[in-house]
Amino acid sequence: MAEVPHATIQEFASDVYEQCLQAPGGYLFTIQELTDMTPGKSNIEVTSKVLNELLRDRRIQAMTQGTQNVFRVVSKEMIEKVKNMNADEEMLYSYIQDAAREGIWTKTLKAKSNMHNTTMSKCLKTLENKRYIKAIQSVKYPTRKIYMLYELTPSIEVSGGPWFTDRELDHEFINELSTAMLKFIASKTIPRARAKDSTAPAATTYPPNFTGYPTLNQIYLWVKNSNLTEVDLAEADIKALLDVLVYDGKIERVVGGTAYRALRKHESVNGFTESPCGRCPVFQLCREGGPVSASNCKYFEEWLEVGL
């Protein structure tokens, strides 16, 4: 069979590429499908040349799915990006791309690319300046420098989930949000004191078998709709927060654990920790005749002074 001229191959290649772009994003093409798309049907040789052509231009990307070889189409903008890179940059870029949302540690990058340190940092700098990649910080390894494609958001393992801001557990955010949730639950579960006739004993509870207690879903929707936060929270996150409130003894699960009810704040005042011994730092040493004893105890003195 006559040799197919290179120009024709190129033509075929762009033809196939155009066809591939029609497919929904992220669609994986099998060899068979690509062969079908190639003009001059089922000519293995032509198809392979076309595929090689496409791969060389990085217009498609080879991958494996199970044991099968599959291809993914690369968008035009992507190709533009890659075109502007030199070979080193390109290699680094592809490694970073492969790491996807997990990101890749510079040390791993170096081991994989086998590049010199200075070259690599130079390349990374260029890529970063061009906004192709970005450096992120991991909750797990706060000291490591990790790179990721610019357009991606870090995965939960890296960012630590919605509760982390700047790789630190965001205390204030958690507290604020849980307080707001507590207020919401309380408003639904503790009857408001009636202002009209204050002489009557204020009703403190809803009747038994009351079913107006908010469920997880209701609380979740309320948080969603209340514009309390811009952080995207899943229902599971809200549940984690509710669990914490339960452990704090501020709310409890009712109706077989499906709904929540606010509890009244209990007094933690008790005889032990209120007496000087309950909060004494040298309690273990204290004994009659010892260096610390009831007769020379300054905490007792203080405590008795306050009472006057």
Partner: protein
């Protein structure tokens, strides 16, 4: 419960010294430190003259602070003495007990109780004879059996009233008969019983093991019978020989049916030797604590309903730990020995305190939720009555008709007389409200009540065992919260809920930083609230290759805390003594009779101020001591 910790021993010694003086406290201290001793060893250890040791022992035995038992040893009877430290601790409860009796039987009762507390145990006839005879006050120190004296500035009008009040107190089990076993150590009582049983059963068993098992099983039942038998005698419910001789005679004459009548004829048996029943008072104190807990948890009115409920079943509860088995493994025993004490709503409402305002104590559910999700939750109690489909008379009380459970026959009766007078309607409404509150109590996650069926508009019982646990947990959490703020309680509850956990998992669940979690956990361990277990991952044991699992051991944590509280109480008493010592001369001066007569004249301004300071300090320390005592009761007795 029977073993003494060092801090408890210290506390008991201090308490005895406060009330019975130096010599008694020395004897008690030796007994607590060394365990059971013969009189010879006591004399040797205390370095006290034999005469005063003997006298002291008499006093202490009279007060039930020391128990004794005689063994045959080498052909001779040897008598051992042992300190009953729990009784010594009970000295602290004197004030509470007198107040509780006052609530029930007024001034007369309080007087009798305070005398009994001072005297330990006493024969009724002696007590009555001493009334009015003695006019001098009993000195606080060393009241012993020979010099019975009663405070005569008493408002008791006659011996008859005295007798009647005493009988009522006996009926209420505030006073109980002193038995031989009360004077002996628990172990000896048990050993005795065991030996007896062994002798009885020895012939029937070939193997030692089988015999042992049988003896143990019988022993348990016997010991229980001892309690239960004792209980029914005083309550006068069984045909067993009653403790009161007078009673036995009467009982033989009168049939069992007209119990009401024969009650009136009762008279206290003057040969009876009585003592204060501390166990019964603990039941009262526990009820009060439960009511307070319910108030905090649900609300004032509900707690008052709870108070009424507990009051109604209280006569049937004899001891705090009586109504649940120590070991749950033998279920059959459980059923024989422990019957559930139930009370129905109907019964409760019959004797319900009319002073308690129930109206408006429960809020109506907000309108929109009511219609939307009324049926989303179906519990057994709710479904059943609905199937019966009774709608008559409901519309009148539409406001909370959804909760009505008109299943029982009682409800039918109510419904039948549709044109009932307003009084009945009010009663019915009131009963419904009571039921609502009872349901609330049962529904709460603390399980103040447990439902026992639907008879008489619903029957309920109280699971004291679980509630005791809950109360202990609540107190423990309070202490942790005060020490480690909400972080501590959060971590404690997580660990309680999940079992053994490592630091990382804990911090994930608690949404706290690992470092923060670690430091709090370590401090909590130091205080004895938590335990940690090391599990090495690899064989050469290294710290960085070891899992550290945190866990909560309830019993151990409670014991440690209790011991700390005893220690704190000791310090409290010691400090009171120190403060008193500092102002010894001043206090002595102020107590002189000539100064008392001319107080303004003889005392300088600064002296008066100093006296004022001392009084307020003493009061403060005493109040604190009582609050610590409350904790001890919850952690140990309830």
């Amino acid at each position: 419960m029977s073993q003494t910790s060092a801090s408890a021993a210290e506390l008991c010694t201090l308490l005895v010294r406060d009330i019975y003086g130096e010599v008694s406290s020395k004897v008690v201290n030796v007994l607590l430190q060394r365990g059971r001793l013969t009189i010879g060893s006591i004399i040797q250890q205390t370095q006290l003259p034999p005469k005063s040791v003997k006298q002291t022992l008499v006093v202490l035995i009279q007060q039930h602070l020391v128990v004794h038992y005689s063994h045959m040893e080498g052909g001779n009877d040897v008598c051992y003495y042992e300190c009953n430290w729990e009784q010594a601790y009970e000295l602290l409860h004197a004030g509470r007990i007198i107040r509780a009796v006052e609530d029930y039987f007024g001034q007369d009762g309080a007087l009798i109780a305070s005398n009994f507390l001072q005297l330990g145990h006493v024969k009724v006839s002696d007590f009555l004879a001493a009334y009015g005879v003695s006019t001098k006050k009993t000195t606080k120190k060393a009241p012993n059996a020979d010099t019975i004296a009663i405070e005569a500035d008493a408002p008791i009008t006659s011996v008859e009233t005295l007798k009647e009040v005493m009988m009522n107190m006996l009926k209420a089990r505030f006073l109980v008969e002193v038995k031989k076993e009360d004077m002996q150590p628990q172990t000896d009582v048990e050993n005795n019983l065991r030996n007896e049983l062994r002798k009885q059963l020895a012939s029937g068993f070939s193997s030692e093991l089988k015999l042992n098992n049988e003896v143990n099983a019988k022993l348990k039942i016997k010991l229980k019978e001892m309690q239960i038998g004792d209980v029914s005698e005083t309550a006068g419910l069984k045909r067993k020989a009653a403790p009161a001789g007078g009673r036995v005679k009467k009982r033989k004459k009168v049939s069992i049916y007209d119990e009401e009548e024969e009650e009136i004829d009762y008279e206290i048996d003057e040969d009876l030797v009585l003592r204060i029943n501390h166990d019964k008072f603990l039941v009262l104190f526990r009820n009060a604590e439960l009511v307070a807990l319910a108030e905090q948890r649900i609300g004032k009115v509900t707690s008052e309903v709870y108070r009424e409920f507990l009051k109604r079943i209280e006569p049937k509860i004899f001891r705090c730990r009586d109504n649940f088995d120590e070991d749950e493994d033998d279920d059959d025993n459980d059923k024989i020995g422990v019957k559930k004490i139930k009370l129905s709503c109907l019964e409760l409402s019959k004797h319900f305190d009319p002073e308690i305002e129930l109206e408006g104590s429960i809020a109506l559910p907000p309108k929109e939720t009511k219609t939307k999700k009324k049926r989303s939750y179906d519990s057994d109690d709710e479904e059943k009555p609905r199937k019966n489909g009774k709608t008559n008379g409901k519309s009148k009380h539409d406001s909370d008709s959804e909760e009505e459970e008109e299943e029982s026959e009682a409800e039918d009766d109510w419904d039948n007389d549709a044109d009932m007078d307003p009084e009945a309607a009010k009663r019915k409404n009131r009963m419904k409200m009571i039921k609502q509150h009872l349901l609330l109590l049962a529904e709460d996650s603390f399980k103040f009540l447990s439902s026992e069926g639907n008879r008489g508009m619903g029957e309920w019982s109280v699971n004291y065992k679980e509630l005791g646990k809950t109360m202990r947990a609540v107190e423990m959490e309070k202490i942790v919260e005060e020490r480690f703020e909400s972080t501590g309680t959060r971590l404690l509850r997580i660990i309680k809920d999940k079992g053994k956990l490592d630091e990382k998992t804990i911090s994930n669940i608690a949404l706290l930083k690992q470092g923060e979690v670690r430091s709090v956990l370590a401090q909590m361990q130091e205080c004895g609230h938590l335990e940690v277990q090391e599990v090495p991952r690899a064989n050469p044991l290294q710290v960085n290759k070891t899992f550290f699992f945190w866990y909560f051991h309830e019993e151990r944590a409670n014991t440690l805390l209790l011991s700390d509280i005893y220690k704190a109480m000791s310090r409290n008493i010691q400090r009171t003594n120190v403060e008193r010592q500092k102002r010894k001369h001043l206090i002595e001066k102020s107590e002189r009779s000539d100064v008392q007569a001319n107080f303004e004249e003889y005392m300088t301004k600064s002296e008066k101020r100093e006296l004022e300071i001392w009084r307020s300090r003493e009061e403060r320390l005493l109040v604190q001591l009582m609050r610590l005592d409350r904790l001890v009761m919850i952690l140990r007795d309830f």
